[in-house]
Symmetry: C2
Subunit: 241 residues, 2 copies
């Protein structure tokens, strides 16, 4: 049987002592959003927005089981959707990066917690307004459909990945992150190794060891623990599949 308490160190036990410091709401000019790649069909959706609200790293945006009154969009930072288990472990189903609409559901409550993985700026959309708008306006419905579809694709890839070896999982994660961040040179691991581990279904130790191993094999290079350059993307990609 797996142990109940996984992190005996004092440092580790802090992990779930989320600070829950809800950042003071700091409303940006609405032009910010429209300049940020939103246009045309999204206008209708954006007309029901609230916020954006700023969250500090590790603060909870929605608790699992909380009423699903809102759907969200990341303006800045990284957000994680996760579930905490009774045995103290945690699983991160997905990370969300700027521009992504997430938290959509047709149920009354959110099945997962939504937390800020870094300091983050979040936009709110009232779900029932969105829903009734969708049933009248096909543009809104299509925006939601597009969001759900891309989230579906993303989580499908993820579910394929977590049956692979640790090396594949980490390599795939780095390649994905690099693609999402559209960084040319190096990948910035915006989230902690603990977050990466909980996302990939590994322990932090294994994540650390695997990164070290990839570095020794000259596939990546580290400037710091969270600043990684993918030296040999082709070789990394070859690890997958």
């Amino acid at each position: 049987m797996r142990e109940i308490v996984r992190a005996p160190n004092a440092a580790r036990q802090q992990r779930f002592g989320y600070k829950r410091v809800f950042g003071a709401g700091s409303v940006l000019p609405s032009s910010y959003i429209f300049e940020n790649g939103q246009k045309g069909a999204e206008r209708a959706v954006l007309s029901v927005r609230r916020g954006p609200i700023r969250y500090r790293r590790n603060s909870t945006i929605v608790c699992e089981g909380g009423t699903a009154d809102y759907v969200f969009m990341v303006v800045d930072g990284v957000v994680r959707r996760c579930k905490a288990f009774q045995n103290g472990t945690r699983a991160i189903v997905a990370f969300h990066t700027p521009g992504e609409l997430f938290g959509w559901t047709d149920e009354l409550t959110h099945a997962l917690s939504i937390e800020a993985a870094t300091d983050a700026l979040i936009l709110y959309f009232k779900r029932n307004v969105l829903m009734s708008a969708a049933s009248r306006d096909h543009k809104v419905a299509n925006t939601l459909l597009r969001a759900a579809t891309s989230e579906l694709r993303c989580i499908q890839l993820h579910s394929l990945r977590i049956n692979q070896s640790a090396k594949c999982r980490v390599a795939g994660f780095l390649l994905d992150l690099s693609a999402r961040m559209a960084e040319t040179a190096n990948v910035d691991l915006l989230m902690s190794h603990q977050d990466v581990a909980d996302h990939l279904g590994l322990s932090i130790e294994t994540v650390s060891r695997t990164i070290t191993e990839l570095e020794r094999a000259c596939l990546i290079e580290r400037a710091s623990a969270r600043t990684i350059s993918l030296i040999n993307r082709a070789a990394l990609a070859r690890l997958l599949d």
Copy 2:
């Protein structure tokens, strides 16, 4: 390193020798569908249907990478969406049961193969017709949205499950299956243990052993290998989380 060839027995090597026997198309009266719980909003969608077509067990409906010209609905039987890896392993992302609309994507190709896990009756919908219908008719868009949303929920639960122990995975799978089949007394494992194993990210041996273990613990009872009654659902549910 994991071994390349996983199933050395002659019997096992047959696993991917899919028969690809496309069943002759046998068109049912359209009333069949309408009697089968489809109504109202779904009408518009159903007006663009083709089929249903009958597939034999293990035949391929769509190959991974195949053009995504159609979206599908299970009329009867069970369908699996899966990916075969180069090392001979296979991952089943999801099973689909009667009434489910699946295979929706906004990409040009299907990322996963779609195969009949049992003899199955499949309805086809032209994707581009569906897409253009969705951009005009919000009812169609909402039907797609609903399908995508419930698929999303399903795969989220699944991705949470595959980080758990083998016992949790099997117990959860049995409970889910029982709920989906709405069978009162016992669960009928319509798919092979191999399919279950590939879905849960376990080996067939582990699936078999785990089921035996659950039986010895008096949580379940077996009439045959594929006919299982959940004696103590509460205890099974307690294994989860």
